[in-house]
Structures are given as structure tokens and as C-alpha cells.
Amino acid sequence: LDDTIIALYQNGEPLMPGNGYPMRLLLPGYEGNMNIKYLRRIKLLPEPAFSYWESQIYTEPLPDGKAYQFYFVNEVKSFITKPSPGVGLKEPGLYEISGLAYSGKGRITKVMVSADGGQSWGEAALQEPVLSMAFTRFRMPWRWNGGPTVLQSRAWDDGGNVQPTRAEFVAARGELPSVPPLLAFENHHFNAVTTWAVDQKGQVTHVYA
């Protein structure tokens, strides 16, 4: 935690109220809930307090009956933001696929993009500055021929960590019997490859692949 700061300013002005004015904790790479807003005091304890939230909500149950705890770090992840559900394609032609990658363990070194459901991959360009534990924008030119297809991205970081495929993630972590509600707390740390299906009208939907 040598990079932890107590943040008073953002972009040259005091924190906005919604961001925790007058000060908040900033823990690079850690999940959002750890970055405490409206920071009042810091108390160091000899052991974890095991509050309700760290006892149940921010743990990750595993298929074998155990559960991960102290799961603070967001692992390497990427997803395509354009196109994406709600941001479709109008007509066949040249497009730029772009998206975001990040890793709570370091700097993004590579993002691969597939426009054919994972059969072939090309390396995306990373927009500078590429900083450790920060959103990294990636871009890839693409010609859409108007047919249905499947878009995916996959990221690597400088610690050698690789974003898992969905199949790899499910094999290690299990699969829920049904799609969880949007506001449910399941799978906080799901970081597998996200897949968008493009139909002939250019509309984009989330699919499992």
C-alpha cells in the first residue's frame, strides 16, 4: 500500500461532494468500495474487524464450499465500449472498435481483439499514457461486412496476468444457475472476456461465449 493517498483534490479543484468531499481514501488497484469517501478517521487494528460487509458481502463463495476473503484487488480485465449494447452499427463499413482495459496488479501491456468469436485475434493500439492500475483505452480498426458476428477483447498486464476466457473463469469459479439480477452482489470480481454479438441490423447484445 505504498501508493495509498488521502485525496483532497481532483483535476485541480476540491473533490466534488459525490466523490467524497472533503477527502477520500484512494487505493490504486483496489475495488471501489475500499476507496472510502467522506473520510473521517483512520484506525489501525491488530486484526481485521470482520464487519458485516467483509464477512459476507465482499467475499467470493467458491464451488467447493470455501470462499475467498480479502479479495481487494481488481484483476486484469477489458471490455469493448464501442460498439456495445445500445451503441450499435448503422451500416456496413469501416469502424473503430474501442474499449477499456485495466489491472489492479499493474500496467496493461497488451489487448487482443477478435471480431470473429475468437477464431482470430489482432493486437489493439493502446492510447498513451498507459499507467499502472489505470484505465487504458484500446483501439482497433475494423470493417463490418454487414453480417452477424461476435466481438471480444482480452487483456494482459506487466505482471504476466492474463484476462481469463469465460470458460476458464467458470471452470475455476463455478456458474450461477441463472442470470443474476442486475443489482445482485454476485460475481463482484468477474473479470473474464466479455462477448458482444452483432446482428445483421448492427444491433449489439451481450452473449456468453
Binding site: R40, R41, L45, S51, Q56, A67, Y68, Q69, F70, Y71
Partner: protein, 188 residues
């Protein structure tokens, strides 16, 4: 009130945006809080029992308190409610014999999941009742803690819960957890 880090951050931001800007004068944080004022916030309980106040309670004492203060949202006997009297979303059950089913979060309960019973006291005192947290006395919180533990068959019916007995309650899933990143854990 600038630290060297915030100064270098300012320089980095100036560089990044290619234009200069100046921070306003240092943050106006008014005045340090006194120990006495901070004490009201200093209510965290540790699994060792550190932080537990004096006082005590039993399940029999907790039952009527639960009926009055808790059952509207948590249901009769803490077994969950589908709707609440106010129309607000119902709270989860706090008494359950549901068996955990794999990774399904909806099957995680106090009895089959929580590693420490001290969490009950901490959370009830800190956050309950939802509409008026911190309104219960420490004795009432101990009594509600005892009631929930008894209803979940985690302690004997007549067990007195206090600062000495609560940390000794053995929760079934105490050893059910593993750290996600063992290499980042401090040596024990």
C-alpha cells in the same frame, strides 16, 4: 497543507493538460476533532472481543425487542419477510436453516457463512434498526445478538451474551475462508 505527493501530482496534471492552473489555498479542514467527539464513531468490534462494551443480554430478553424493533422487516422470528409494513423492501432473514448451495449468494446465511459472532453486535449496534440506528442500548444489542444466535441454534437457549462470552461463540464456518492473494497477506 501540500504533501510532496500532491505537489508532484499537481505538476503531473499541469503537464498532462498542457496548461497551467493554480490550486486554491490549502484545504479548509476547519479543526481537528477531539478525542471525546471521535469516541462516538469509535465503535468497531474485533473478533477478539476488543471494543465490546460492558452489559449483557439473553435470548429471552431479546425476543420482545426483536418483535418490536426488527420483525417488521426481518419477519417473525427473523425468518424473513416478503413485504414490510411500510412498503419498503424487505430485509434478509437473520434466522435460517438454509444450506449453502455452491456460489449462490442468496443461500449464504449468518449460521452457514459468517466466521465470527462478534460481527452481529457490531452491525446491530452500528446500523439497526434501519430507521433509527444507534437508538438501542448496549444491553438491548447484546440481547438481540443472543436471540439471533439462539434462533440459529448456535448457542444454548439460556446463554448470557456479554463481552466475555460473545468472542467465544464458535461459528460453524470459521475456517471456511481462504485469502485470494496469499502472497499479499501479512505474516502471522
Amino acid at each position: 497543507m501540500f504533501t510532496p505527493r500532491s505537489v508532484s501530482l499537481a505538476a503531473a496534471l499541469t503537464f498532462a493538460f498542457g496548461s497551467s492552473f493554480v490550486f486554491a489555498a490549502g484545504p479548509d479542514l476547519v479543526k481537528p476533532i477531539s478525542q471525546a467527539d471521535a469516541a462516538a464513531w469509535d465503535i468497531d468490534i474485533e473478533p477478539s472481543g476488543a471494543g465490546l462494551p460492558s452489559g449483557s443480554g439473553t435470548s429471552d430478553q431479546g425476543a420482545p425487542i426483536f418483535a418490536e424493533q426488527c420483525s417488521a422487516c426481518h419477519g417473525d422470528g427473523g425468518r424473513g419477510a416478503t413485504t414490510t409494513t411500510s412498503g419498503a423492501p424487505a430485509a434478509p432473514p437473520v434466522v435460517s436453516d438454509v444450506k449453502r448451495n455452491g456460489i449462490d449468494d442468496t443461500t449464504l446465511t449468518i449460521a452457514n457463512y459468517w466466521p465470527y459472532a462478534t460481527t452481529l453486535f457490531d452491525y446491530i449496534r452500528r446500523a439497526m434498526p434501519w430507521t433509527s440506528p444507534r437508538s438501542l442500548t448496549d444491553d438491548q444489542v447484546y440481547a438481540l445478538t443472543a436471540y439471533i444466535l439462539v434462533q440459529n441454534k448456535l448457542i444454548e437457549a439460556k446463554q448470557v451474551i456479554n463481552a466475555q462470552t460473545l468472542p467465544k461463540v464458535e461459528m460453524p464456518n470459521r475456517n471456511g475462508f481462504i485469502p485470494r492473494f496469499p502472497e499479499r497477506m501479512p505474516p502471522r
